[in-house]
């Protein structure tokens, strides 16, 4: 098929944005301002950002200082020349416009007035979308251009005029009534579908504020054939076409988007009402030549310079994505190990009599942070230990319980959702698989332990697939580095907690042996242990493998070494001179690990002593250092969290 290519349209679009920059810069910094991932058109914004190579930012990523507009990036503030605005007019500044908006940038119109930034389309241009102007278009065209309109208009009556209002009120059942503003895009009334009462209430609304309504002739729309379950059926469609004003003329995109009604009866078509989306192509007679020489190199300067210019909000989302995915995986694996042991218990609803199970359960509480849980300090009420199944089920499924697996998965989904623009389509698929698996599991009543194990297995496999895809779909300078830092940090922290919960106290030889085996199993290291040591499981060897090994990817030392390497690549890190705080913390953690000795770590003070003090102290120090690392990284790079507040709070009843 000879489908007309869109690239020349986007080239012009890109050039138009470059030319819009104040002072005619060669390489202006261009950003796309989006209301965020919950907006129905976010996909378009994200797609356009990645296609054209502009940073996708939210109001929070931008700030007005010294009369200029800046983007908060990992490295610091970057001056912005052009904003492609996808936030509604009234929401673009909480100072001069809607006070309750958190989507805009305080002071933006002032920067525009100073001609220090160009906003496309300018704030206020939304007024042109007023359908109340339609009846006046023929006259406007004749007055300004001395021409008649080329495209016919649907007959329209603006109720702000007496005669027109009366006509509309008398013919309401044959008309389509719309509001003239965009505050409520769903308010379209088809007179012929309204009951008597509904018509009367609409009349009352029109009479109360006639200027707010415009009515149009109800016309019969043509339909388009639509392939539905193997056969062609007629459907109403709405096409969205795009054009840009560039130079003295307009360019129209040779293609567009189509929304298709969900069934043959529906006249109103909208994505929110279950319609589907399609592309529309313009097909020509001529063979379309692939123009491979299109010069797309000349991309926005800030998009090219990579990590330094990553918007800090995106960076933070990636960091937390790494942390939550790490937390989900490590905890899911540990809980799986625990559930396997519980499957062998006589009665899952009674307090377990074996010490090893009790230790395992307490470790669950420590790792998930779902206190009091199985830890000693229970308040009044039945201790969780008396009914391990119930407590475990809550730790796994109660999404309102902070720290539970369900809660962590929820946080993981949120952080991924807000950086959707970085995803590949395979990632979507796996992500949706995880969501589906978990949703159906959430609804099951009283799942058996075997069923839980099965779900955990599936969850873990899909998570690993997902993690693999992240690494291959996102580039380091797109922010993958932040994801890795978050992931390593989280996995290290949980490994520390796990070792502390299982190993800091000395138990009977048999209990100890089992605990070591659980540790290795939950760490997916049992095979490696057998391969490396070919022996009976011993504490010293386990410590060597899980904590001090420099080569093994699952060891704490390895992870911290990797973390050290990764954070050195952050924009503010120093290589030669004095280290930044977060670098110092990680360096200190790494050296503590390198200086430790597993034979000493495995000892207690004396034969009768049960606490392995040296191990316990080391792990505690490491845990503290990593916590500080996270705080320091957050303080240095994500410090955009200053809340925006109004001096006065006022309602804004538009």
């Amino acid at each position: 098929m000879n489908v007309t290519r869109l690239s020349s349209f986007f080239m012009e679009f890109h050039q138009m944005l470059i030319d819009a920059a104040p002072g005619k810069k060669d390489n202006p910094n261009i950003v796309i301002l989006t209301p965020g991932s919950h907006n129905e058109t976010y996909f378009e914004h994200a797609y356009m950002a990645s296609f054209l190579g502009y940073p996708l930012v939210q109001g929070n990523d931008l700030v007005v200082r010294d009369g200029f507009l800046w983007m908060k990036s990992l490295q610091g503030l970057k001056r912005i020349d052009v904003v492609l605005r996808r936030v509604d007019d009234a929401f673009s500044d909480p100072l001069e416009l809607r006070e309750d908006s958190h989507l805009g940038v305080a002071g933006l119109p002032d920067v525009v007035r100073r001609k220090n930034v160009s906003v496309i389309n300018p704030v206020g241009s939304g007024v042109i979308e007023n359908p109340g102007l339609i009846p006046f278009m023929p006259a406007i065209s004749r007055y300004f251009l001395n021409e008649n309109l080329i495209l016919p208009q649907i007959a329209s009556w603006w109720c702000g005029q007496e005669k027109e209002k009366n006509y509309v009120l008398n013919n309401l059942s044959n008309l389509v009534v719309k509001r003239i503003d965009r505050t409520n895009r769903e308010s379209i009334y088809f007179g012929k579908f309204l009951s008597f009462d509904q018509l009367e209430s609409l009349k009352a609304q029109i009479l109360q504020r006639p200027y707010r309504f415009v009515a149009q002739e109800q016309i019969n729309f043509s339909t388009a054939p639509n392939l539905t379950q193997g056969s062609l059926e007629p459907r109403n469609v709405v096409t969205r076409a795009f054009s840009i004003a560039y130079g003295n003329q307009y360019s129209v995109m040779p293609g567009g988007l189509v929304r298709v009604a969900p069934d043959s009866k529906t006249v109103r078509v909208s994505n929110q009402r279950g319609g589907t989306s399609k592309d529309f192509w313009v097909v020509g007679d001529q063979i379309v030549k692939e123009d491979k020489n299109k010069n797309w190199e000349q991309k926005s300067a800030i998009a090219l310079s990579g990590l330094d210019d990553l918007p800090s909000l995106t960076a933070e989302n990636l960091f937390w994505a790494g942390r939550y995915v790490g937390r989900t995986l490590v905890n899911a694996r540990f809980i799986r190990t625990v559930m396997r042991q519980m499957a062998m218990m006589q009665n899952r609803d009674e307090k377990p009599d074996s010490i090893k199970i009790q230790v395992l359960l307490k470790a669950v509480t420590h790792m998930t942070g779902t206190y009091p849980g199985f830890s000693e300090k229970t308040k009044e009420g039945t201790p969780a230990m008396d009914n391990p199944y119930e407590e475990m089920l809550s730790v796994i499924r109660d999404k309102d319980r902070v720290g539970s697996l369900a809660h962590t998965i929820g946080m993981f989904s949120n952080s991924y959702y807000s950086i959707r623009n970085l995803w590949s389509s395979d990632m979507w698929r796996v992500f949706e698989n995880i969501q589906k698996l978990w949703q159906s599991f959430q609804e099951e009543e009283n799942p058996s332990i075997l069923r839980i194990l099965k779900v955990l297995n599936q969850l873990i496999t899909r998570l690993i697939a997902f993690m693999g895809l992240i690494e291959e779909s996102i580039m380091v300078q797109q922010g993958l580095l932040l994801y890795f830092i978050g992931l390593q940090l989280e996995q290290s922290m949980l490994t520390i907690t796990k070792c502390r919960s299982l190993l800091a106290v000395k138990y009977d030889t048999q209990v100890e042996y089992d605990l070591l085996e659980y540790l290795l199993t939950s760490h997916e290291s049992l095979n490696i242990y057998r391969y490396s040591y070919r022996s009976y499981i011993q504490l010293e060897h386990v410590l060597d493998l899980v904590i001090t090994d420099v080569e093994y990817a699952g060891s704490l030392t390895f992870m911290i070494k990797r973390l050290q390497k990764d954070i050195a690549r952050l924009p503010h890190s120093r290589k030669d001179q004095q280290l930044t705080n977060y670098q110092k913390y990680v360096f200190s953690a790494f050296s503590k690990l390198r200086l430790s000795d597993s034979s000493k770590l495995s000892l207690t003070k004396s034969k009768n002593d049960v606490v392995r003090q040296e191990l316990d102290i080391l792990l505690e120090e490491l845990s503290d250092l990593l916590y500080k690392t996270s705080q320091s990284i957050t303080g240095t790079y994500f410090n955009h969290t200053d809340r925006q507040t109004q001096m006065f709070t006022q309602s804004f009843p538009i």
């Binding site: 007005v64 200082r65 010294d66 009369g67 909480p94 100072l95 001069e96 006070e99 305080a106 002071g107 002032d110 007035r113 100073r114 109360q208 504020r209 200027y211 200053d642 809340r643 925006q644 507040t645 109004q646 001096m647 006065f648 709070t649 006022q650 309602s651 804004f652 009843p653 538009i654």
Partner: protein
């Protein structure tokens, strides 16, 4: 009469603010019988940038931002103003002002000369004064009738608000809806001005909100306290063929020389003395003091 007006607004925050963007409508505009002789604004801590412009309604808008960490924001303005409103005050006695009936006014508003077009926007709904329930209209229609003089109706509306409503400070805030003020019959000058505007618009006539100051006189035999004067607000109604006439429902009088005008708009929203977006956490405490001293 010449006045020195000192207006001090202080915000104290309970947690440090890193930066803020603000808009102030504090510089008095020129208007009938009023000239600004001198004006100074002082902001502490010092703003990183400050600009002034004239807004859509012709008011002076000062925009500034502060980029140093602070826990107190203090904005002080000193204005020297000459008021000589006698001539305009007397013109309200003219037939052109007093004889226009509501029916005539509504008819004249169908015209489209520049003055009428400009006035008509003040019939429309505004941010704080939406078209409201029937109570407001019913209240208005007691005074506004087709064959009655618009001036007389507005004068009576002012008197009725003065008698029917209690001046209670602290009962309302800037976000209290007009309907609630109508129901409770309590509020401050802003509320009374906005009630009157809602009433006048409900019958189809233009009304605008005026922000300014009023000189208060000490009780007989007592010395005047510094800072006892106040930010003030009243309303103005448009009489086609004549022009705008101000009424102060809080004091039941037509403003003369003791009322100093700062700006006007559709309602409070268009002319807040000071507003801003603050970055930081925590709450703020506001203190306003106004002092008006006669120079001559």
């Amino acid at each position: 009469m010449v006045f020195n007006v000192t207006h001090i607004t202080t915000y104290k925050y309970n947690a440090p603010v890193n930066y803020c963007h603000n808009i102030a409508t504090l510089r008095p505009r020129r208007s009938d019988g009023q000239e600004l002789l001198d004006y100074k604004i002082n902001i502490s801590p010092g703003p990183a940038e400050i600009t002034e412009r004239v807004d859509f309604f012709g008011n002076f808008i000062t925009r500034f931002s502060i980029q140093t960490e602070h826990d107190t924001l203090k904005v002080t303005t000193k204005s020297k103003i000459i008021r000589d409103f006698g001539f305009f005050y007397d013109s309200f006695l003219s037939d052109a002002c007093r004889k226009i009936t509501m029916n005539e006014a509504l008819y004249a508003l169908n015209g489209n000369d520049a003055t009428i077009m400009d006035a008509k926007q003040f019939v429309l709904e505004s941010i704080f004064i939406r078209q409201t329930n029937k109570d407001i209209k019913a209240y208005a229609e007691k005074s506004f009738q087709g064959n009655r003089s618009v001036f007389d109706a507005a004068y009576e509306l002012m008197q009725r608000i003065y008698t029917d409503f209690d001046f209670v400070s602290g009962f309302t805030s800037i976000s209290t809806p007009v309907e609630e003020v109508m129901r409770e019959k309590k509020g401050v000058c802003q509320d009374f001005a906005q009630i009157a505007i809602a009433c006048i618009r409900s019958v189809g006539l233009p009304a605008r909100y005026v922000s300014g100051y009023i000189e208060t006189l000490p009780p007989p035999g007592k010395e005047k306290l510094v800072g006892a004067d106040a930010s003030h607000a009243w309303f103005s109604i448009f009489i086609p063929g004549f022009g705008w006439v101000d009424f102060d429902p809080t004091n039941n009088q037509i403003p003369k020389d003791q009322h100093i005008l700062v700006g006007w708009g559709r309602d409070y929203y268009d002319v807040p003395p000071l507003k801003g977006v603050v970055y930081g956490s925590g709450k703020s405490k506001l203190k306003v003091s106004v002092d008006i001293a006669r120079v001559a």
